[in-house]
């Protein structure tokens, strides 16, 4: 399929988003839009390894944390947080290499549990290290200007989040059409068959894992500069990893637009819950998210976008087209 409709849609989103970012003065909605694009970026990053490659991770927040902590350390040391962009990305990539090399060959729940264990180890490590602020985390000093990645309005933050999302979306579009993308989907559909035609599972999955870890780290840098506060529960705890996975699953794993749709649902729900039930921390938000995951898993396991794609295919009567979600199913 031609990438053109996707590019047009993305361009429209970027134009509308930019107009909104610099046109609106409504801080509450701008905050929601910032969160939307930040989470869509994280969801897409997760989608690379868990959607396209099929290794479901419950530990993706550690890469987000790499970026957030890099930004906090840089700013507190009087260095520009722009330095945290390569630094955070590099640390995240290294962490992905070190943890991915042994674990990516694991399948199914073995990998998922390993990501929980790795996430918990990273969380524990940060909580016991003085230079990482122990359990208390860091506040970031208030500066101003593009050089410090801090702005008095929310508009520029929204624009940056939008830019990051667009970048990751373009990368994903390229992934879908690249050798790497085809290999990952082949490995996901049937790893034994893929291996038998010479696809090196560890090598290609490591490339995907390392790349998507850097996307999450970039989102982390932006997040830290936006909230000016970084601590383990807000950046690398299991609950953040769960949110990221939730966004990917709800939208539809292994689809280009799934993460954006999932993030929209997530942000709208978070707002509704806060409005009607008095914020998170009381468990109502968890009840709703949990119920949504359950419903999707049981009745629409391909997520919102995946279900739409399947329905479109069925209407076209393309019996010979293999389902995106599970090529083995159609075989």
């Amino acid at each position: 399929m031609s990438p053109r409709p996707h590019l047009i849609a993305l361009a429209a989103i970027v134009v509308l988003g930019l107009l909104y970012a610099f046109g609106s003065k409504d801080a509450v909605t701008l905050d929601l839009v910032f969160t939307l694009f930040l989470y869509a970026t994280l969801g897409q990053s997760w989608n690379w390894i868990s959607g396209y490659a099929g290794n479901i991770s419950f530990g993706h927040a550690i890469f987000f944390g790499c970026g957030a902590y890099a930004a906090a350390l840089c700013t507190n040391a009087g260095l520009s947080p722009w330095l945290a962009v390569p630094a955070g990305a590099l640390v995240a990539a290294a962490l992905a290499l070190v943890t991915g090399f042994p674990t990516l060959a694991l399948r199914g729940h073995y990998f998922s549990i390993a990501t929980i264990a790795v996430g918990a180890l990273v969380d524990t490590y940060v909580r016991t290290q003085g230079w990482l602020g122990m359990a208390n985390g860091f506040e970031l000093p208030i500066k101003n200007g593009l050089g410090w990645l801090q702005f008095s309005d929310k508009g520029p933050y929204v624009a940056l989040a939008l830019g990051l999302f667009a970048l990751v979306q373009l990368a994903t579009l390229a992934l879908e059409r690249s050798r790497l993308g085809y290999y990952l989907r082949a490995l996901r559909a049937n790893h034994a068959a893929a291996a038998s035609v010479g696809i090196d599972e560890r090598r290609w999955k490591l490339i995907a894992f390392t790349s998507c870890a850097t996307f999450a780290a970039l989102a982390g840098v932006l997040y830290a500069q936006y909230t000016l506060f970084v601590d383990p529960p807000s950046t690398l705890a299991l609950s953040i990893s769960i949110d990221i996975a939730l966004i990917g699953v709800v939208g539809g794993i292994g689809t280009l637009w799934g993460p954006l749709v999932g993030a929209s649902v997530y942000v709208l729900l978070a707002k509704e819950v806060a409005l009607r039930l008095g914020g998170s921390g009381k468990g109502y938000d968890l009840v709703i998210y949990g119920a949504i995951i359950c419903l999707i898993a049981a009745w629409r396991p391909h997520g919102i976008v995946g279900s739409i794609i399947d329905a479109l295919r069925r209407r076209r009567g393309a019996a010979d087209v293999v389902s995106v979600q599970n090529p083995a199913e159609a075989a």
Binding site: G54, I56, F58, P102, T103, L106, G108, H109, Y110, S112, I113, A114, I116, A117, V118, A120, L121, T124, R127, T128, L238, I242, A245, L246, V249, I253, G281, K282, G283, Y284, D285, L286, V287, I288, Y289, G290, A291, I292, I293, C294, I296, A297, A298, W299, P301, H302, Q325, N326, E329
Partner: protein, 293 residues
């Protein structure tokens, strides 16, 4: 000098005893998980939340004047029914979907139950009033909490009972047949849906009983299940997914690692050796210590 050595040895013996007793409770929790996995290839990520529900149920009974030990069979029976209902309306649907649906689905169940507990019971730590068995038992220089002894012994007996059920009864044999080959079992006239539901119910009953025992010494709060579930995942992977004997051996090992790690490293690092053990085992021996593949 000699005194210091004796003291260090006594401490070590105390820790080992404590670790083994903790391990026996882990074994009962992990048993439910490994049974469900063995029969239907589902890792129930909400297993710890079932445990949490059982602990709240035990607390509720205690507030009505029914102590944890008397309440144990009631809680186990309630969880058994709960497990069957969850299987019938939810897990069965997941099994019909793509393989990752069971991972997401049971994970969603975890989030849902945990949120509901937070909404209903708040995040406070709650304990059974007038806990029984608060004394200690002295074996020479070693003093053990009576509650820990009863928890360990109770868990051991129940684990043995479930093992005997799976090993020696007709239904248990049917369960093992389904675990071995679902299609062949169906052809032999075994109702796989019924066996699945039963296995899920028994798995839930195991944490039902474990929850009642744990209320002898633990408080309950909405996220209490997570730490036990994580430990149970590690135990089940260590022992080999689906292996009951493996789970028992691994649980004792993990209990020891956790208690010794908590003492000799530091309390906040007590899970580190456990997670490292998981990673090392799944990488070097993916089938687990006693697992088959």
């Amino acid at each position: 000098m000699a005194d210091a050595a004796v003291e260090a040895l006594t401490t070590f013996a105390l820790l080992v005893a404590g670790g083994l007793l903790t391990g026996l409770v882990f074994a009962l929790v992990a048993l439910g998980l490994t049974l469900v996995y063995g029969v239907m290839d589902v890792v129930n990520f909400a297993h710890g939340e079932f445990l949490m529900l059982a602990m709240y149920a035990t607390l509720g009974l205690a507030l009505l004047g029914i102590g944890p030990l008397v309440g144990l069979p009631l809680v186990a029976a309630a969880l058994f029914l709960f497990g069957i209902v969850v299987y019938r309306i939810f897990i069965r649907r997941l099994l019909a979907g793509p393989p990752e649906a069971t991972v997401f689905g049971t994970f969603g169940l975890l989030v849902l139950i945990q949120g509901a507990a937070q909404a209903l019971f708040s995040s406070d730590y709650l304990s059974v009033p007038n806990r029984p068995l608060q004394g200690t038992l002295h074996l020479g220089p070693i003093a053990l909490a009576q509650s820990a002894l009863v928890e360990g012994a109770g868990a051991l007996v129940l684990t043995a009972l479930v093992f005997a059920f799976v090993e020696y009864t007709e239904t248990g044999r049917a369960m093992r047949a389904v675990a071995e080959d679902r299609v062949a079992a169906t052809l032999m006239g075994i109702n796989v849906q019924r066996i699945n539901a039963l296995a899920f119910g028994i798995g839930a009953a195991c944490v039902g009983a474990a929850g009642a025992l744990l209320m002898l010494s633990y408080p309950v709060y909405p996220t209490v299940g997570s730490q036990f579930a994580l430990t149970a995942f590690v135990v089940v992977a260590l022992g080999g997914f689906g292996s009951i004997q493996g789970a028992l051996v691994a649980a004792l090992l993990v209990g020891l690692l956790e208690v010794l790690g908590g003492f000799y490293l530091s309390p906040e690092l007590k899970m580190v050796p456990v997670y490292l053990a998981y990673l090392v085992v799944v990488l070097l021996r993916p089938q687990g210590l006693l697992g088959r593949r």
